[in-house]
């Protein structure tokens, strides 16, 4: 059991926060509906029960009224028979009006209960019979009066007794039937009251249960919410912590690059200057033959130290310039003029290597925001690569073109080109298409990485197209304005 809860809890914790929040909100709402629906249903059935009880009461009252009316009629008729006074006929007349009406109402009221309808029909038959007897009795009395013509003629007691006895049986029958009818209704009433009471009890229980469920769900929702809140707070704390750690790491890295600059360059400086002083020492020796080899070795040391120095510079450059340039280091730069200046420097170098150099500038002046030195280095790296990898007799083009939103600097050569498989990697640090050739040409495989980083620093992109033995095209796209 505990393992189930634990599993459930673990499942809960891996849910995304949005879903958990929705569930937390849904818990009280769902429990509200689940409690409300049966409660409403119970209330409705209670009201129905009440209505039925009311209905049964009405039936009871009505049957009482019927019985009363019948008794009134009988009494009236009897009274009239005994006294011959007209005022005794008053209740009888009233009863005559009440009885059919009462019967109709009763019949209507018990439409839902076929046996009772049947009973009413019986009662109606008996009542009609009784009323007929009453009527006959009265007519008989009046006839007697007319025949005798005198008011004060005394009716013989025996005949009067007979007259009175007549109809008693049927009257009793009616009374019995009505009583039976009333009893049935009484039973129904008892049943219905019992039914209502039991429903009331159930309602109470349901109400208590609902209260318990509501409390429980509220508690659950609050508990889960608090837990979620704690978790979020914990997460924030964690984020702050990792943020702080990242900042530290960043600072450390900055300190490292600053120190690395010193620590890497100091021994290189010592190596380079010692080797060069060694070469100066050799100058003092007269005979060249004995020192020739030592000179070569020292010259190699000098060359390698210089290369290492360049490598250190490149690596430090890459380490320092991450992200985007700050706005204040970007200055307005007229690209046409800038490219023109670069071209005049590189034209000579290209021509010295037996390469044709073509410069294409647009008519309109292209102005961008850039760091002049960095951008110059990027273009110089591309041009240097172009010169390095284009055999004598080839051609190097430097083009500047623009679209409404971007400026594009193209460096196109007719050199050895880059194999298709190598193109995705050429901007990686220390990547070399052909390790042998690159080493011979003095590169470390950082030139293009630096170009890419500089272009990214300016928020631009660099694209390359190349075909082996046909040449390469590098395009630097920079945003304008």
């Amino acid at each position: 059991m505990t393992s189930f809860w634990r599993k459930l809890y673990r499942g809960w914790q891996v849910l995304p926060i949005r879903i958990r929040g929705t569930i937390i909100v849904a818990i009280p709402i769902t429990s509200l509906f689940t409690v409300l629906l049966p409660f409403v249903w119970l209330k409705a059935s209670l009201a129905e029960d009440e209505a039925w009880i009311q209905h049964t009461q009405t039936v009871r009252l009505e049957s009482q009224r019927l019985l009363n009316a019948l008794v009134d009629a009988e009494t009236g008729v009897r009274g009239y028979g005994l006294t011959q006074r007209r005022e005794f006929l008053e209740p009888y007349k009233n009863a005559q009006l009440v009885i059919p009406d009462s019967l109709n109402r009763l019949e209507n009221l018990v439409q839902d209960n076929p046996p009772q309808v049947q009973q009413i029909q019986n009662i109606r038959g008996l009542v009609d019979e009784n009323l007929e007897i009453f009527e006959q009795k009265l007519i008989l009395q009046q006839e007697l009066q007319r025949i005798e013509g005198e008011n004060d003629v005394l009716v013989p007691a025996a005949s009067l007794y007979d007259w009175l006895e007549e109809g008693k049986a049927s009257m009793d029958a009616v009374r019995r039937e009505i009583e039976r009818f009333a009893e049935t209704e009484e039973d129904l009433l008892v049943q219905r009251i019992q039914h209502r009471d039991s429903w009331r009890q159930i309602t109470w229980i349901v109400l208590c249960l609902a209260g318990a469920i509501a409390t429980l769900s509220a508690w659950l929702a609050i508990h889960l919410f608090y837990q979620l809140e704690r978790e979020l707070a914990h997460r924030e704390l964690h984020l702050q912590e990792s943020n702080r750690r990242l900042e530290n790491a960043c600072n450390q890295l900055q300190r490292f690059t600053a120190n690395a600059s010193h620590e890497l360059r100091a021994p290189l400086a010592a190596v380079l200057s010692n080797a060069q002083v060694g070469l100066m020492d050799l100058d003092d020796f007269e005979e060249e033959e004995s020192t020739g080899e030592v000179r070569q070795r020292l010259e190699k040391v000098v060359a390698i130290a210089k290369q290492m120095s360049m490598l250190v510079g490149d690596l430090l450059f890459l380490a320092r310039n991450e992200g985007l340039l700050a706005a204040e280091s970007l200055k307005t730069l007229n690209l046409n003029q800038f490219i023109q200046e670069l071209a005049s420097e590189w034209r000579i170098q290209a021509q010295n290597q037996g390469l044709k150099f073509i410069l294409t500038l647009p008519q309109n002046q292209i102005i961008i925001n850039a760091d002049r030195n960095l951008l110059g280095q990027a273009i110089a790296n591309l041009l240097s690569n172009a010169c390095r990898y284009t055999p004598s007799g080839g051609k190097i083009e430097l083009c500047l073109i623009s679209t409404p939103t971007q400026a594009c600097i193209q460096v196109i050569d007719t050199g050895v080109g880059i194999p298709e498989t190598a193109i995705p990697h050429i901007f990686e640090r220390f990547y070399r298409v052909d390790p042998k050739r690159s080493k011979a040409s003095g590169g470390f495989g950082l030139g293009l990485a630096i170009v890419q980083q500089i272009v990214h620093l300016h928020g631009g992109t660099i694209e390359v197209r190349s075909k082996v033995k046909r040449g390469s095209t590098f395009e630097i796209w920079l945003p304008m304005g």
């Binding site: 360059r265 100091a266 290189l268 400086a269 010592a270 200057s273 010692n274 060069q276 100066m280």
Partner: protein
């Protein structure tokens, strides 16, 4: 030229010192900023070369301090700090040139010559007394068709004497001018260097140009014909 070289790493200091000395300069060296300040106050230099990170006062601080004293000799920063901000900071502190380590000695020496040329006391790459010419870059002495290349010690002595021709230079004065700070010359050191220089000058037939004035010192003068 008298140069103050401040560099805290002896491994780097020694070759720089050697290279500068070989090219005929008199170089005072120190490894900390505080001593450098004392030297800057006590002596006059034609060029100062500072590393940035130093014990005591750092290179930029030295540079500011030196300029505050009102001295105008060129200052060259030689440091591993290579960012543009560093360079701007160094140059704004009063440095005349900024080189990032590791530096090619050929470049350092060329910059040294360039800074020397910018000095208000500059009067050309050669010194001439009578018909004797001393080339400051190559350390050659020429007289007519004769020519000899001097070693740096001899060159330093001859340069000093040719800058003060026809004056009697006392032994003390020569010691002050030619010996580096911290090096104690032996009692007969000046005499032996004069002797060596005379031997070198013999190759241009000028051994009699340096006269010994007994009890006073030495004088460089073209002999009267």
């Amino acid at each position: 030229m008298r140069i103050l070289l401040v560099e805290d790493d002896p491994e780097q200091l020694e070759p720089l010192y050697t290279a500068l000395t070989r090219t005929g300069h008199i170089v005072d060296t120190t490894e900390d900023g505080t001593t450098a300040q004392w030297l800057m106050k006590e002596k006059d230099y034609d060029l100062l070369i500072f590393d940035w990170m130093l014990p005591g006062e750092d290179g930029v601080g030295l540079c500011r301090w030196y300029r505050k004293m009102g001295k105008t000799s060129p200052v060259l920063m030689l440091t591993a700090k290579d960012t543009t901000q560093d360079k701007v900071m160094g140059l704004d502190a009063g440095a005349d040139d900024y080189l990032v380590k590791p530096v090619d000695l050929a470049e350092l020496l060329a910059r040294t010559r360039a800074l020397r040329r910018r000095s208000p006391l500059w009067c050309g790459d050669i010194l001439q007394v009578g018909d004797m010419v001393l080339n400051l870059d190559s350390m050659d002495v020429e007289r007519g068709d004769l020519r000899v290349r001097l070693k740096s010690r001899d060159f330093q002595l001859l340069e000093y004497m040719m800058r003060h021709p026809k004056q009697v230079l006392s032994r003390d004065r020569l010691e002050q001018a030619l010996w580096e700070w911290g090096q104690e010359p032996e009692s007969n050191a000046v005499a032996s260097r004069i002797k060596r220089l005379r031997q070198q000058l013999k190759k241009v037939e000028a051994e009699d140009w340096i006269a010994t004035i007994y009890g006073m010192g030495y004088r460089l003068e073209p002999p009267e014909q």
